[in-house]
């Protein structure tokens, strides 16, 4: 009885031992882990499917050898499976990075293009404003009937603004000077020189004095209208620099004049004329 029981227990134990302890092979475990890791990597199925397939094939060979307890036959396919799985992950990682950069190039080009477009727009805007300013200035100068010369832009006030032999401005001069005042107010950096001229009738000293007083009159009008006197120079040139013949009354009238020379936009003083 006792003997029978012991025998049965021993039998049961020996069966249990046979069934419950399948042999483990470390190389095979390593291979399984490596292949599982590669299978779980989404980049691998996308970029290195063939390598993964090869790794799985080697793993199957290793598993088959393990089933047959062919211990020497496990090591080689298990090693190849593990290394091939690693290879698959490395290749997939590189390809994923390359693909990301390639896709990013499109973004980069788009941003660069947008940046260049903005630059171009900004430059165009600046150019347009400069053009507008230039055309505005041109319009103003056209209104003043100023003529470009070596000394600057010259605006001529005829002698009809003055009574003969006198330096007081006629009321009719107001309109012409209004435009000049507007221009000088809009361009506070520009300086002006007011030059007086006469015809050749009368003495030189009288003419010099008269031309200076006429220039001074115009200057004082501008100052009265709010233009800083430091921006305005006035000179009398007498009968010098005539613009027409003094032989007839028409020519003499053209010579009796005040010219306003507008300096550059950087505030340069207008150079005095050399005596001829």
């Amino acid at each position: 009885m006792n003997t029978k029981l012991l025998t049965a227990m021993a039998l049961a134990l020996s069966f249990a031992g046979c069934v419950s302890t399948p042999k483990t092979y470390p190389a095979l475990d390593t291979a399984r882990t490596a292949v599982q890791s590669a299978e779980a990597d989404p980049n691998v199925s996308k970029y290195a499917a063939l390598d993964l397939q090869a790794a799985k094939g080697e793993l199957q060979a290793a598993e088959a050898a393990a089933m047959k307890h062919d211990e020497p036959g496990i090591a080689q396919p298990a090693y190849l499976a593990a290394q091939t799985a690693r290879l698959a992950q490395l290749k997939a990682s590189a390809k994923a990075d390359d693909a990301r950069v390639a896709a990013g190039q499109t973004d980069r080009n788009r941003i660069q293009l947008a940046a260049r477009t903005t630059e171009v727009d900004t430059a165009k805007e600046a150019r347009d404003q400069a053009n507008l300013k230039a055309s505005g200035l041109q319009a103003e100068l056209d209104a003043l009937k100023a003529k470009p010369t070596d000394r600057g832009l010259v605006l001529t006030l005829g002698d009809v603004l003055f009574d003969t032999g006198r330096a007081e401005l006629n009321p009719g001069a107001a309109r012409n000077l209004d435009q000049l005042v507007q221009f000088l107010t809009a361009h506070p950096d520009r300086r002006v020189e007011i030059d007086g001229y006469t015809d050749s009738v009368g003495t030189d000293s009288f003419n010099l004095d008269l031309s200076q007083r006429r220039a001074d009159t115009v200057k004082s009008v501008l100052v009265t209208r709010g233009i800083d006197s430091s921006r305005i120079a006035s000179r009398g040139y007498g009968k010098e620099f005539g613009v027409a013949s003094n032989a007839d009354s028409g020519g003499r009238q053209l010579n009796r004049r005040v010219e306003i020379v507008i300096g550059g936009e950087n505030g340069e003083a207008v150079a005095a004329r050399g005596r001829s």
Partner: protein, 127 residues
């Protein structure tokens, strides 16, 4: 024909065949060794000496052992070692290429960030 001679001839033939088989070049091992060599060359040219020195050294070591085993007519180890050398060299090459791609991607990301910052700044209205 003499039976004794016949036996002798047969034995001689068998011996010769065995000897020929033993000393003949092993085409499979030769081919695997050539493949492993090519993989090592490729790995060396793609920067593996810097990026994967351990893997490359393992591949070279196994190749040397495969060549020696092949010379010793020890065919099976020659084939197994050549296969391992081949996969080790491929891993070394892939490590080098992966490192290169990762570096390029990181640099690209940095340049994109700079570009985005610049374009954001450029989009601000000028004062």
């Amino acid at each position: 024909m003499d039976r004794a001679f016949s036996k002798f001839a047969l034995a001689l033939l068998a011996t010769t065949a065995a000897a020929a088989a033993a000393f003949a070049a092993n085409p499979i091992a030769d081919e695997k060794i050539a493949v492993a060599k090519a993989s090592i060359d490729r790995a060396e040219q793609s920067g593996a000496p810097q990026a994967a020195p351990v893997e490359l050294a393992a591949a070279r070591d196994k190749l040397a052992r495969a060549v020696k085993a092949n010379a010793d007519h020890d065919r099976k180890p020659a084939v197994l070692l050549a296969d391992q050398a081949n996969i080790d060299a491929q891993v070394a090459e892939a490590m080098a290429l992966q490192a290169r791609s990762r570096k390029a991607a990181t640099e690209f990301d940095a340049s994109m960030q700079t570009l985005r910052q610049e374009s954001t700044r450029a989009a601000q209205p000028a004062q």
